[in-house]
Amino acid sequence: MTDTPINPEAAATDDAFARFRFAGGRFDSHTIPLEVLPDLAAYRKLVLEVAKMLFRRRMGARVRVPKGFEDSFQIGLARIEGGSSAVADMPRLRPVASPPPQQPLKFAANQPTFDQPHYPDFDDARDYIDNLIGSVGSTGSVPPEFPVELAGLFNSFGQSLHEDEFIELGFGGAKPVRYDTFIRKKIVLSRETTYENAVDALFVLNGGVVAQGAIHVLDVTGVSFDFQPSTEFEFKKAYNRASENVRLVGTGLYDKNERLRRLLSVNVIYSEGGATQPFELRLEEIRSTPAGWYDDENPAPCPAAIEAMRCLLVDVSMQPVPLPHLYPLPSGGIAAEWTIGEWEASVEVDETGSQMTLNSVNTNTGEDVDMVIDLPSTKLMSQFMTFMNAMSTDEETPDAN
């Protein structure tokens, strides 16, 4: 982990509301991965809620925040500067001018309403958050006056950080403070019984409830959890593949003892290996391959062949079979390929999309399997599975790469 600050002077901008330095782990490559960006949106939400609290403290608990209070606070990501880490400058944005109201013509009525009150509570909120984090970092405990209702907001801010990473808030200022997963957990659990954190663990698919779109899984100790896949396709796939070992990656709710209590949002990584890129994306890449890519005269991949392959892969996804790697063929057809143990297997759709050729060879023994299927075929999947099973008779679970 690298923790050498970049030159604060070089990174400074006059109008930055907040300046974060991201360091360690992935940030050593001097960039901010896109999956970290939701943390910045969560920071804005956190500042907003703290500002509301401070406003009420200032004006009285029964006073509502004025109309336009929330909209008056917008921050953006102005630039990211690399070094041995990555610094994000976030200035406040001017509110978008609202159109003039429909009313009789007056000189002033046609002017956009740029001028909104400048509430000091947002700057105070930023400093409040910095002080809170600094205090937790130095004392190891959360000040007793910290409001219960704000603790949960720290769930989202910093959720993407790995254990070896941290954010330095107030970078370049007089009192920069370090915020990491430990401090985040400390703050959330000071007022709540659970906190959100990353899930990345092995589970067994265990059926589900169709009406609710819920999938059941068991962890390695046999404890049952549910989650809801984001699409119907993903639900069907997980539902049809009950009893398979899978990896779930996403977010879960944990208790103080680091025990997972609930799955919040997870993706299923099937364990058979093979291609990891979603096949729809790869098919789009192939669809955009120009004519002449191979020898200047060969055709572009034929849409009919791509569609026939897509139909096959939709069905293959429901089976305990690795996803194949996909390639255009110089003929205008398309190939799906698997490496399964010692076997090299392929399914090729010809350029008319009317025929599939299945071929595999054991690279150790030279044994081969060949099949030809005319499309469309009502027996396509059964024939395909026969083909795949011919390779895996000596291996219970195909392991592809």
Partner: protein, 139 residues
């Protein structure tokens, strides 16, 4: 095409190299078709002799010819390995490439058999790894 005894290359460890188009690589995996002749090749797979054209020069030449900034790289199978698969290799210098060779797949049978043997050649190339750019560099 000089498929005759005079141009036959003796079995040796010399590598015969192939260039791979970017579309034939995905997630770092090479297409198993990379060492199989296409229909237009009429059973004769084109390659380059490593002794006459280095994997690096062959790669750079391919990028220039195809107007690419990067490609799947240079991969190779030795003449001896082709021989074990029942394939003979022939020197076939052409005007813009004196290193050009042809590997004769017609001896193994029809297109289906050629594909099977092509996969065996591909497995050899894959086991050897990419020759250029080096495997640990981005290509």
């Amino acid at each position: 095409m000089p498929i005759n005894d005079q141009s036959l290359l003796p079995a040796s460890d010399e590598l015969l190299t192939r260039q791979v188009h970017p579309s034939q690589m995905t997630e770092g995996r090479l297409s198993s078709r990379s060492f199989t002749p296409t229909d237009k090749d009429a059973g004769h797979l084109s390659a380059d002799r490593e002794s006459l054209l280095s994997p690096r020069d062959a790669y750079e030449s391919y990028l220039q010819r195809k107007k690419l900034t990067e490609a799947g790289g240079t991969w190779g199978v030795s003449i001896q390995e082709f021989v074990i698969l029942g394939l003979a290799s022939y020197a076939d210098p052409i005007p813009d490439n004196s290193a050009h060779v042809l590997v004769d797949f017609t001896s193994v049978g029809d297109a289906k058999k050629q594909q099977t043997v092509g996969k065996l050649a591909y497995a050899k190339a894959k086991a050897r790894g990419r020759l250029h750019p080096p495997p640990d560099s981005a290509a």
